[in-house]
């Protein structure tokens, strides 16, 4: 499982993406270009409502771009596929009538993996995300952090080369969030997936990412600037370098937030 991400795929390319709801709607995304390397941890950072989730949904295949192409592993994407699995912010994507183990088994069931085999793989993956001993519990019996771990396990069990994480820790308390961030860094180093992680939390972006793409305020959002995070791992949130980078990202982002607020004022 985990370690063998498959040697094809994992590379992502957005080519001149425009997106609007309906052909005559206003452009939410305009001329969005971005390349993400195989096995890279890329964080998309931007003010709330700027269109980050739209970018992720396009890559997941849930929304079709109005213009432009998205390629993974050199192929233009056509709708959702099991090589790109989303970890949603809201754990309501878990199936509440299935136990944690059955949820992780679910994608394997569809692939026709034998019951014994998929049970073993699901159990192993739950152990990998630190949920051993909770196999039989149902989502309703798990805390928010545990539910997100089940979502992560359900994505990892498939050996998908690309993981799409849509503010997965956004609804968790600060302590749980930090623990999960640390675990995710460990996991991403061990499992070697390409990760697109969306957040509006600068700390989170710096702690996790190889590179951070800061988005402009919407509408007509695109990438404003890409920042390489060259801090060694594991990263210390208290280090001077971390703080400097925080300041730098913060300046870029707050310009956009200010622009967005002004935009709202002029609408009033």
């Amino acid at each position: 499982m985990g370690q063998s991400d498959g040697d094809v795929g994992g590379h992502i390319q957005f080519h001149g993406i425009d997106f609007s709801y309906g052909p005559s709607g206003p452009l939410i995304i305009r001329d969005f270009n971005l390349g993400i390397q195989r096995r890279e941890f890329f964080t998309l950072l931007g003010p709330s409502g700027c269109g980050k989730t739209t970018v992720l949904n396009i890559l997941a295949g849930f929304e079709a771009p109005t213009r432009g192409d998205v390629l993974t592993g050199g192929q233009t994407i056509q709708g959702p596929h099991r090589d790109r699995i989303v970890i949603f912010q809201d754990p309501d994507s878990l199936y509440p009538w299935l136990s944690a183990l059955e949820n992780v088994e679910f994608p394997l069931r569809v692939l026709g993996v034998s019951p014994a085999d998929r049970r073993a793989r699901a159990r192993e993956t739950l152990r990998l995300v630190g949920l051993q001993g909770h196999d039989a519990k149902h989502p309703g019996q798990l805390s928010g952090g545990m539910k997100q771990r089940v979502q992560l396990a359900r994505a990892l069990v498939l050996d998908a080369p690309i993981l799409l994480m849509d503010e997965p820790f956004g609804a968790l308390d600060a302590q749980t969030r930090q623990v999960l961030q640390e675990e995710l860094v460990q996991l991403s180093m061990r499992t070697q997936r390409t990760i697109l992680f969306i957040t509006h939390d600068i700390h989170e972006a710096i702690f996790l990412a190889d590179r951070i793409g800061v988005m402009t305020a919407g509408p007509e959002a695109s990438i404003k600037e890409i920042i390489e995070v060259e801090l060694p791992r594991p990263r210390s949130r208290g280090s001077a370098a971390f703080g400097e980078l925080y300041e730098r990202v913060h300046r870029i982002l707050s310009d956009e937030v200010r622009r967005m607020l002004q935009g709202e004022d002029s609408l009033l």
């Binding site: 997941a60 959702p80 949603f88 299935l98 994608p107 309703g140 498939l158």
Partner: protein, 263 residues
């Protein structure tokens, strides 16, 4: 069950018991002072008549007649309602086509249909079962339709990413996600079935609890009506409990926002 849960259960049961006792005592007291006791029988005389009816076998056969009608109409109506609701929720065109009728008919009580249905199907069992099917089908269909249409989008999107076909998404995600809505509709429908069965039996029948209540009028046997009313109320209460307990035991994993096994 933990000791605390048992204490709470005991507290609740004694509360119920106290409430029932108080009402029975007040009822007995008031009926003894009623101006015309014949019109307002006491719990004691209701019980006496009830026991007499039970020994003669009449109560049993009336109870059986009503229950079989409800069971047949409710089961058939639920099956039809679930099927219709699933189709209407899954296919927008089907939903749009039938929704006006659903919305119109659900406000028309089965009672309004008694005369035409009796004309079409006669005064026998068929018309009563048909009225009970009518009572059940709309409320179950409506709840099921809403359930199918309100499956969380992320559950469907996740399934798409896992490569499920439309048919797999239908039976592996949409149906299990809708079970709790179906059960809600069925539980509501069952309550309404009790109203319909009594009304149908009042109008044209020679058996059933509705008939028992109605026949009391002929001989001024008010006790008979009180027996029928009491049994009907108890029957409704018991069947609701049975329905609730069996479905939560068997289908607890499908309960909405379930937090684990409900005992």
């Amino acid at each position: 069950m933990t000791a605390q849960a048992m204490r709470q259960q005991g507290f609740r049961l004694s509360g119920y018991l106290l409430s029932v006792t108080v009402v029975l005592v007040v009822w007995q007291y008031l009926s003894a002072r009623a101006i015309i006791p014949l019109l307002f029988p006491s719990p004691a005389s209701t019980l006496t008549v009830g026991l007499k009816l039970l020994r003669s076998g009449q109560l049993g056969s009336d109870l059986q007649a009503s229950l079989i009608r409800i069971l047949a109409g409710f089961t058939l109506g639920s099956a039809l309602g679930v099927t219709a609701g699933v189709f209407m929720g899954s296919f927008r065109a089907v939903g749009l086509f039938f929704e006006p009728y659903l919305q119109f008919l659900r406000f028309l009580p089965a009672l309004a249909w008694i005369p035409p249905v009796m004309l079409w199907l006669g005064t026998g069992e068929r018309s009563k079962v048909a009225l009970l099917v009518y009572t059940t089908v709309f409320i179950v269909a409506l709840n099921t339709m809403v359930g199918v249409a309100s499956v969380p989008r992320n559950q469907l999107r996740a399934a798409q990413s896992f490569g499920l076909t439309r048919w797999e998404i239908f039976h592996m995600v949409k149906i299990p996600a809708t079970v709790s809505h179906m059960l809600t509709g069925m539980r509501l429908a069952m309550g309404n079935c009790f109203m319909t069965v009594v009304a149908a039996e009042l109008v044209a029948s020679d058996s059933g609890l509705g008939y028992l209540i109605f026949s009391s009028r002929q001989w001024m046997q008010t006790e008979l009506a009180f027996v029928g009313i009491t049994i009907l109320g108890l029957l409704g209460l018991i069947s609701d409990r049975i329905f609730h307990v069996t479905t939560t035991r068997l289908l607890w994993r499908y309960a909405r926002g379930q937090t684990g096994r409900v005992a």
